[in-house]
Amino acid sequence: MSDATLDSKGGAGPAVADDPKRRAAFDARVAAEGKVEPRDWMPEQYRKTLIRQISQHAHSEYVGMLPEGNWVTRAPTLRRKAVLLAKIQDEAGHALYLYGAAETMGVSRAEMLDALHEGKAKYSSIFNYPTLTWADVAAIGWLVDGAAIVNQVALQRCSYGPYARAMVRICKEESFHQRQGYEAMMALAQGSPDQKKMAQDSLNRWWWPSLMMFGPSDRDSPHSAQNMAWKIKRESNDDLRQRFVDMTVPQADYLGLTMPDPDLKWNEERGHYDFGEIDWDEFWRVVKGNGVCNRERLQARRDAHDKGAWVREAAVAHAEKRAARSLAQAAE
């Protein structure tokens, strides 16, 4: 979000990373809900974890523009078109805030993009699923943004200041995304048989991938304990996933749509919905690059970057020329 270069001489570098006294003071401060700011001393592992997490989050927003962008030119009404475009623009803005937050830790956006383009950095697997019908745009708003909000609300309390502040701004702006998705879904669910069919098919395809957005089960999530202690992660994957299920099932009921999960039912004793086991094979398959759109999404990002290189170079060259001219004028 901010203060990027302020980190350049900061204490985050590896040279001082294993100072036990500072480490104890850091842990105590974070435990007491103190915020960490860019130039503060921090353990190397804290820095690495956050760079990975924030840059993945940024890449997800950036790549996430593509499946919805796919429908901008085909939106069914001008109002829907304008709303969709504004929403995708917000996602670009969110990518920008997040790259900025990661940059405060001393990594440049160019380095992060290189990692994305080389396939070394991950982004949310949900965007490797195709948007086949207009209902998918509605489903993304309702389910994918709904899941993202559950995650992001928790991250507003992340211990790293710039990330937490970016999350506050993003959550504020995203409040309309989920609502517009649900509204668009409602129009379909209350529409013609064709529209209802489109809506149900879309829910069938997006429900399980939305649940996968919360990541592996707590049983298989090795980093969780340290990240929870450092307040990088505020709640466990499974807790957040449960919250999303509890929130979303009644919304689907209201629409008259059926969740594609025969095991889904209210558990009076737990006060939560029970739901079926996620297909973890599919989860790992898509994470590892074997979703329908993995290659296209990455290639689209590479193409935009490569085809834009001459534009970015021209702007830099022009700025240099202009600076040289004003220097020459000053010398006269």
Binding site: A86, Q89, A304
Partner: protein, 252 residues
């Protein structure tokens, strides 16, 4: 000016905005840098917003119950009234900037005049739109300068892009019967009279970009007058209208 001409005139303005907004929205997610994704989307959103107001007004003047969507999704190529310039493909970033720059300078002149239109609704739309268009003009001018006076490659691309789009400029300034009637009714500007100011404004930016005014020996017309468009418009409509054609008469 008869009612048909009035509707036709409003459709020109609305169709220009919608088709150019459509073209710019094709960049969404594919711009040279993230910041420019946001900037191009802003311009696209402004234009689509203007199109919605202008088409709504066209439908109101027409009085046959057609709203913005009926007009956007229910007309085939021959009934579209946009100028040829705005339907040209995005090409590379220099093409997009050339098309935008040539149009923005003209569009700003037109909407500045429309502030005083005798069509009060149109004047109110112009009051909102003219501020947005002033910003579009600034954005495309600044990019034209950077590409023209950037690297050798960007300069060559910018020169080529201006050559490619220059032949569509004359249509902007050539009034036909509808433009003439709109002018006489105090609804729209005297198009031909706008040319000297446009030439001067364009020359000033070209000069700052270190570029010459293109010398091209061709100029084409047809979009706005009788719907004789380039082949590109049909493909734009195929995408734009897909949902309403595949599922007619539904609410979304």
């Amino acid at each position: 000016m008869n009612q048909d001409q009035h509707v036709d005139y409003l459709l020109r303005l609305g169709d220009n905005a919608l088709i150019l907004g459509h073209r710019l929205s094709e960049w969404c997610g594919h711009a040279p840098i993230l910041e420019e994704d946001i900037a191009l989307t802003n311009v696209a959103l402004d234009l689509i917003g203007q199109a919605r107001m202008l088409l709504t007004q066209a439908g109101a003047v027409e009085g046959k119950g057609r709203d913005e969507d009926a007009l956007a999704f229910g007309r085939d190529v021959l009934d579209w009234r946009n100028v040829l310039l705005v339907e040209q493909p995005n090409g590379d970033f220099a093409d997009t900037i050339a098309r935008q720059f040539l149009f923005d300078i003209w569009n700003h002149q037109v909407f500045s005049t429309l502030l005083g239109s005798t069509d009060a609704e149109l004047a109110a739309i112009a009051a909102k739109a003219v501020k947005e268009i002033a910003y579009h003009k600034r954005h495309s001018s600044e990019w034209l300068i950077r590409l023209g006076d950037g690297t050798e490659e960007s300069r060559a691309r910018m020169i080529r892009a201006l050559d490619v789009h220059w032949g569509f400029v004359e249509e902007l300034f050539t009034p036909d019967a509808v433009d003439q009637a709109a002018f006489e009714a105090g609804i729209g500007p005297d198009l031909a009279a706008l040319r000297p100011e446009w030439d001067a404004a364009v020359a000033a930016v070209l000069d700052e970009a270190g570029l010459e005014r293109p010398e091209v020996g061709w100029a084409v017309h047809g979009g706005k007058t009788d719907g004789h468009h380039s082949e590109h418009l049909g493909f734009i409509l195929a995408e734009l209208q897909f949902m309403q054609r595949a599922y007619p008469g539904l609410a979304w």
